[in-house]
Structures are given as C-alpha cells and as structure tokens.
C-alpha cells in the first residue's frame, strides 16, 4: 500500500541555465500531492491532546471516555512510547508525549486515532488530564538566575558561547552602546504539518512525510519507537514550504505510534493554530552591544551579550547561539571581541531553526551599532562599513581566516550606487502609501528614509559536524535514448533542488533526459535542507556520482572501441580526441546499466574552543547587502517599504531563475520580521496563533527587489557556487530598520516595529 506521490518527471538543462522547475507543471495544475493530500484506503486520522498550561505537573491521565468515543481506534499516552521517550536534534530532551511534566503551552500529552478527523478531535477533548499548575519561567534572564526553578536536569543554560578574541582590555576613542530586542518570528510555511504512516504488518512502518531531513527523522523515530532504522522507512511527500519549521519532529512519531498500535494507516494533519505550537520558532532575543572605534572609523573592539530565549526544549538552540555569537560583529574586521552568547530554557514555545539561523538576530544589533557609530563619528554609514569590511584573508573574531572572494565592500558599493526610486508622488495611488488601501494618508506626515545593512553567515554545518550527502546516479537506455536517474534523500522544500540535481547531471553527463527520483531513506543521507547547503553538498554528491558514471562510460568506450586516450562524453555521443563522433551513447550502452553511488564531503570544520570560541569552525561564508527605501507615516507610525535593493555573491548561479526567487523570497521574510511578524507570548501562552493576527506580508507590503547577483566563484566548492537561501533574510530587515530610523529620527531598537513604537 502506497499513497499517490508526485510524478518523477524528466528535465534537462545545464548548470547556469534558467531552467523552469520540472515540478511546476503538476503544481500549477493542482495535481502535485502535498503531504496533506495523501490518502490510502482504510486510513485513520490522528489528533493530539495538548497541554493548556505552559508549566505543570501531570497528576493523572484518564483515557477511558476518549476510548469509548465513536470511531476511536486508539488512545495513546507516554506509557505507549516503546523506545526512549526523548528526542531532539542536538540534545534528546523532549518527550514524544509528556509523562510527568509539561514545559510549554501546547505540548503533546496524548494521541487519538479515529475513523474520521472530527471523531478524533472530539475524542481528544475527552482525554482527561489533571495538572498541578506551576508558575512558568517566561523570561530568559530570570531563567538564568540561580534561584530559578530548573526546567531540565542540567539547569537552564542550554549553551553559553564565549568568544575571547584579541585584547580583552582594549579601549577606544569613540564608543557607542545599544540594547536591542528581537520578537519571536514564525516560519509559517503555508502547508501545515502532515504525514501518513503505514504499518508494514511486520512491526515496521513506512512514513510519507514533508520534512527537511529524512534521515535525522528516521534516526530519531527508530529511537523513540524502539525499532531498528531499517524498520522505519521514510519517503518525501510534497512540502508546502519549510524555512526551518520542519527540521524537528512534529507529528512523525505520533502518526507512527498510532499506525503501529492500530495496524492501520494513520494520517495526521495539523490545523493552522496547531501548527503554531507544532513546530519551533525563530529565537526571540535581547542583545547588548558596545562598539569601540578609532576617530578615523576603524573598529577597535566589540563587546556583546546576546541572550536568546530557547523555550522549553533545546531543538537546534545550541547551533543557533553559536551562529549568533560567531557572527556577532557582522561582516567587519574587528581585532578585539568579547562575546557572550547564551541561550536559556524557559517555559515559552520552543525555538530552533529558521532561515538565517542566529545571524538574523545579531544583524539587527550590529547594523544598528554601525549606524550609531557612523553618527558618532559623523561619517557616512556606508563608508564606515566599507572602511571596516571583511576581505579575503581577514580573520574573523573566531580567529578563522576567510579564503575565497569576500566582496563585502563591493556589495555595499553596488547597493549604494544603484539609482534611488522616484520620490513619493503627490496624489499617488493609495496602494503606494503607508497604510495602503486603508486610506490613512494622502501624503500627510509621510517621510522617506533610506537605510543600509550588510550581513553574513556560514553555509553548511559547522563546529566539526560530519557534513555529507549521498547520491546515486544510474545511466541506462530507455526507448533508445540515454536516461539518467538521480537518487538522493535531499529534501525539495520549494527551493528547487530537483531542478538543480537535474542540471548538474545534465551538465556532467551531457544527457537530455534526467529523472530525479523521489527522495527517500532507501539511499544514504543527504543531510538537511537547511544552512543553505543542499546545492553545495547534495549538488556536490550528484556531481561526484556523475563523474564516476562518466569515467565508467569512457572506460567502456575505450574497451569497446579499442581506442586509446582522449575519449569524451559529449551531447549523448562518444567523441574522439579529434572531436569526431565515434559512437552514440545509447548504442555504446545497449543493455548496459551504469550505476554509481558517491558520498560527498566538504572540507572539515573544528569545534569552538569552549573558553575562547576560537576555531576554524565554518566551511563557507555567504555575504549580502541590502538598501531599503521606506515611506513612514510619522504621525501614525505606519510603514510602506518602497524598494529593496540587494547585492549578493552566489559564487555561481546554478539556476539564475531560482537564485532570483531566493533573493526575493528571502527578503520578504526579512521584511516580515522587521515590520509585522511576531508570535506574541504572554505568560507562556501564544496570544495570536492564527493568520488573522500573526501577520505575513501580502503583495501590497512587498516592494520590488532590485538585484545585483555576483558570481565570483569559490575555489573550494562545486562549480564555485555558494549557498544562496539565507543571506537575503539576514540584512533585508536591518536595512529596513535603518531606513525607518532615518525617516523618523527615532532610535527604534525593537523588531518587529509596531506603530506605537514610532509615535508614542
């Protein structure tokens, strides 16, 4: 039994071509099956009982009434967790179902499977859980105090990163300080969490799932289900966006448990409100910064204390705080740095991965500081940044010397020199005004502001993490024509990995018909679709496997043609050293199938020194700069972002169309955090778990994005490419904040900016 999945289409194209997505045809027809669309005969529906308290002891759980409810086939609690009741990306601190304590509002406590989703939900309401309510710890600074209740056995410090670089007692002629606050952002992928688990009748389970990393799910599932990894097989279903929200388990273990218990396929599909508690969010944080510089504007030192609220469980907090700390200064040279990055456990919603991953929070702070410093020095803010920009050969505050192109000053120059948009027109259409069609201004009190920001982050995994991807490439003849099949476990989350894989295979093997097979755990791990790494790592694996296939084709040709050196595979032919076609590839292959599997590993990284944070901890860096132009209604505090300009070095644009999409889409998520997106948490409870009150930018909020895409070529990566997905989300928001400050003359130290922050 198997649900209908997306078609495995063939596509072609070469590296650098503007290739249309092969999956777009099914997507525009409405025929692409997303995880929420999956169905098989005899399928049950699961529902989750969740805690109404942010912190409480579970006194008892009574499932009797729920079990007796119509259509119910199973009601499960922590007692039904067959393996260890603990999982987590970095630290296994989170129960699949809470047993003794609930640590956040919405934590899963029990599960129900029933014939109909409505029956499952009704029965879930009938599970009686008695709680002894505890006073929640909702402020990370309070959580760090010795007197705070310990939320986990090891205390409330999830991780403390110390970076001690250069002279710890350095002093400077000009000093600026600032305090900044970042609200909690949600990834808000439009497809809520969902998946379908089908028991295999032999104690194992097949899971069809929208996830960012099949193999980490598999590993965690085997652990909590008490099964061997080969007994938990995962297949990628259509994904409605991810952005970090699908790195952790959500309903995966729950659906598998219900399927194994009932012996029937079980589907779980979250509603939007449930999705808000069903995945981790971007860490909110408070950042205190001190910048010291010489009178001519050279950075002397940066001191920062960065406190992120990790919420109830660790998720990827330990890696997020490392990024927030390592890149705390921004893409600038700074000889001396003292950085303390702390992420704390609280009883707030758990936080983890979101696009930008730690570099978003600190960028708001370091860029505000650079503007403040420029003001103190009466220097142009772009000139100050360019004066201090990282360059090839610069040392980071972690001591790592960056190699390859580091075009920070150039990116700033490009956005700075781009012509500005026309001034706001008198009698402009309402859609062009702050407030939009809501008709709040006809130009009164509208002031324009321009702001700049630059940011950077690591690509791929850091700190010695074993980063690799696996690809299998199979060359055969189908209907008289060569056909390449590419099989990886890389998650297509919308970014266009399927297109990229086909382009790379097409380039390496010169074959027009490339089919990218459904990602699953039948092939080795590809790692996560995160950290902007898939094009590099899985792309690298596909390239390596293709090269191995090509070598075998050439060897086959040499042996068949009894020919010597100089044979090449070109445009579906074997070509001699003189360029003449010797034999068609299809003819050469005949019945032969060439199948190669390769694992690709980028260069190694090292763990951070626990006392000084010094190390070659990162594999590659990506840089971007943004300029924002905003119109602010300075009496009402409403903002219209008029234009965003960006420049980014992508090394090599494998698919320019997809690169542009990343730059535009990433900027929109940056804009969201800057001016509207915030999960509002009060006493541990989310007050706005809906799209009615968690506001995502609409088309009327999103300006055009003017782009300069540089392809400077990284000497260490496949095709010279760099990860693309995250930099657009890092500096776009800080540039908007700078523009709002310029328009209003107010310090504006908190995001998202609320109207009352600008006028009261």
């Amino acid at each position: 039994m198997k649900p209908r999945l997306a078609e495995e289409t063939t596509s072609g194209g070469r590296v650098g071509d503007r290739v249309r997505r092969p999956d777009a045809v099914q997507k525009v027809r409405g025929d692409f099956p997303y995880s929420s669309d999956l169905q098989v005969d005899g399928m049950l529906w699961g529902a989750t009982v969740r805690s109404p308290h942010p912190y409480a002891r579970i006194e008892s759980i009574d499932t009797k009434a729920a079990k007796a409810a119509p259509g119910v086939k199973a009601v499960l609690t922590f007692e039904d967790v067959a393996g260890e009741n603990a999982y987590g990306l970095e630290i296994a601190d989170q129960p699949v179902l809470a047993s003794d304590v609930v640590r956040y509002w919405g934590e899963a406590v029990a599960l129900v499977a029933a014939e109909h989703p409505e029956q499952a939900r009704r029965a879930a309401d009938k599970v009686k859980v008695e709680y002894a309510v505890l006073k929640p710890v909702t402020d990370p600074e309070q959580a760090l105090l010795p007197k705070a209740p310990k939320l986990h056995p090891g205390g409330n410090v999830t991780r403390h990163i110390k970076i001690r670089h250069g002279d710890q007692n350095a002093t400077a002629e000009v000093v600026v300080t600032g305090d900044y606050e970042i609200g909690m952002q949600d990834q808000a992928p439009l497809g809520p969490e969902s998946g379908l688990a089908i028991p295999d009748g032999e104690g194992g389970v097949d899971l069809y799932i929208a996830t960012q990393w099949l193999h980490i799910d598999q590993k965690q599932l085997a652990h909590v289900l008490g099964l061997e990894p080969h007994e938990v097989r995962l297949t990628m279903a259509g994904i409605g966006g991810a952005f970090g929200a699908r790195e952790d388990l959500s309903m995966q273990a729950h659906a598998c448990m219900l399927a194994l218990k009932t012996g029937r396929p079980v589907k779980i599909s979250y509603s939007r409100p449930e999705s808000f508690v069903g995945h981790v969010h971007r860490h909110p944080g408070k950042l205190h910064y001190e910048h010291g510089a010489t009178k001519d504007g050279k950075l002397v030192y940066v001191k920062a204390r960065i406190v992120l609220d990790g919420g109830a469980y660790a998720s990827s907090s330990t890696a997020v705080i490392a990024n927030a700390s390592c890149f705390a200064v921004g893409p600038y040279q700074c000889p001396n740095a003292t950085i303390d990055g702390i992420v704390a456990y609280t009883n707030n919603p758990p936080c983890g991965a979101m696009r930008g991953f730690g570099s978003v929070q600190n960028c708001y702070a370091h860029e505000a500081q650079m503007d403040k410093l420029a003001a103190a020095l009466t220097m142009d803010p772009v000139a100050l940044r360019r004066h201090n920009s990282l360059e090839t050969g610069s040392a980071l505050i972690t001591g790592q010397v960056i190699d390859g192109p580091v075009p920070v000053a150039e990116l700033l120059r490009l956005v700075h020199e781009r012509p500005l948009p026309a001034p706001a027109a008198k009698n402009a259409d309402l859609t062009a005004m702050p407030g939009g069609v809501s008709n709040t201004t006809h130009g009164e009190s509208v002031k324009r502001g321009i702001g700049y920001a630059a940011g950077f982050k690591n690509i791929g995994y850091s700190e010695g993490f074993n980063d690799f991807s696996t690809a299998r490439v199979r060359l055969s003849v189908v209907d008289g024509k060569p056909r390449v099949e590419v099989h990886t476990a890389g998650a297509e989350v919308g970014q266009g990995l399927v297109t990229i894989q086909a382009q790379i295979a097409g380039t390496e093997l010169g074959v027009r018909d490339v089919m990218v097979l459904t990602a699953d755990t039948e092939v080795g791990s590809a790692g996560s679709s995160s950290a902007s790494r898939q094009t590099y790592i899985t792309g690298g694996a596909v390239k390596a496997a293709c090269e191995a296939v090509r070598e075998r084709v050439v060897a086959l040709a040499q042996s068949e043609l009894k020919s010597g050196e100089g044979l090449r595979l070109e445009d579906e032919n074997i070509v001699g050293a003189d360029g003449n076609v010797l034999v068609a590839l299809a003819t050469l292959l005949g019945e032969e199938v060439i199948d190669e599997l390769r694992v690709f590993r980028p260069r190694k990284t090292s763990p951070l020194d626990p006392d000084t944070g010094q190390a070659n901890a990162h594999m590659q860096f990506a840089f971007a700069a943004h300029r924002a132009v905003v119109d602010v209604d300075t009496e009402l505090g409403l903002v219209k972002v008029v234009e965003l300009a960006t420049a980014q070095d992508v090394g090599k644009a494998i698919n320019p169309q997809a690169v542009e999409g990343q730059l535009e889409g990433g900027a929109a998520q940056g804009l969201g955090l800057a001016v509207m997106e915030e999960i509002q948490v009060q006493d541990g409870v989310i007050k706005n778990p809906s799209f009615t009150d968690y506001l995502l930018p609409t088309i009327l909020d999103m300006p055009p994005v003017r782009m300069d895409i540089l392809e400077l070529g990284d000497p260490n990566s496949p095709y010279g490419l760099k990860g693309v997905g995250e930099p657009p989300t890092i500096s776009s928001g800080p540039a908007i904040l700078a523009a709002i400050r310029a328009a209003t003359g107010r310090p504006v130290t908190r995001v998202p900016v609320r109207p009352h922050d600008l006028v009261l």
Binding site: R21, V25, G30, D31, S36, L190, G240, R272, Q657, I699
Partner: protein, 150 residues
C-alpha cells in the same frame, strides 16, 4: 453542485466545508487548506465565476451553484490554462502550496479586468499569501498571463 462541469451529489454531512468536500469527497486535492480561517487564500475557488474562499463556505451552500477548482482549468492533460502557463514560465512558485489559490484569484481578476495595471494586480491578489517568492515572480506571472490571454 456542479464542480468543473460535472454534477456531484449533495454532501451528506451538513457541517462539511466546501474545501473539505472538494478535497475529500470529490477527491480534488488541488484546492489547498493553509489556515481554515479565511486569510491565506490557498483554498480559493471560483463560485459562479467569482473567487471565494472555499474554507469559509459549507459545501451544502454550494448546492445549485457552479464551482471551478484548479483542476477545472485544464482538465485531463489539456494544455495549461494561460494563467497556469504564466506561473510556470515566470517561476511564479517555489513550494507551490499557494499556487492553485493564486491561479484561481488571477483567473477571476483577469476575467473582470483583462488588462490590469500593476496597482490593480497588487490589490486584486492581495488576498492570497505566498511565503516563498516574495511575490515578485507572481507579479510577473500575472502580467504574462494577461499577455497570454490576449
């Protein structure tokens, strides 16, 4: 009710949402559900020719009416509808979850206004959220769709 030119029996459960009825009873899963409270626009269908949110209607309210879903634009392998073609050409989608809703809104918009200005495009599709594209490629798709429809 008539869905994409085919008559279907009334839903048996009066509580059934039109979106659920289309997806689960009729089996047309191209109409997506992203929020079920009338904001995201993923569930947009044409109701007697006008774009509406199918998650905010009871299926039974559609009795006697014409419903067009994304699958009705180019049925059974027919060439793509100009709006679908335009989204494909201009990379007007990434994950694609919002795409059917956008396509239906754009079909409705262009029917009313075959040659919209950029401002009219923005206002006309401001009731659909996209989390991937930042809307730029969707703007290009609408302009291209208008061109293809001429």
């Amino acid at each position: 009710m008539n869905v994409n030119g085919v008559d279907h029996p009334a839903p048996t459960d009066p509580r059934r949402l039109l979106s659920d009825h289309i997806r689960h009873d009729i089996g047309l899963t191209g109409t997506h559900v992203g929020c079920e409270h009338g904001v995201c626009g993923c569930c947009t269908v044409l109701f007697d020719g006008a774009p509406v949110r199918s998650c905010l209607m009871l299926a039974i309210q559609a009795e006697g009416h014409q419903v067009t879903t994304i699958e009705g634009l180019a049925p059974d392998g027919a060439p793509l509808h100009p709006v679908q073609q335009a989204f494909h050409e201009t990379h007007g989608l990434q994950c694609g979850f919002c795409t059917p809703g956008f396509v239906m809104s754009v079909v409705g918009l262009l029917k009313q206004n075959p040659d919209p200005t950029p401002e009219e495009i923005d206002e006309g599709i401001s009731g659909n959220l996209c989390r991937c594209t930042g809307y730029a490629s969707i703007r290009r798709a609408v302009l291209r769709a208008a061109e293809l429809s001429r």
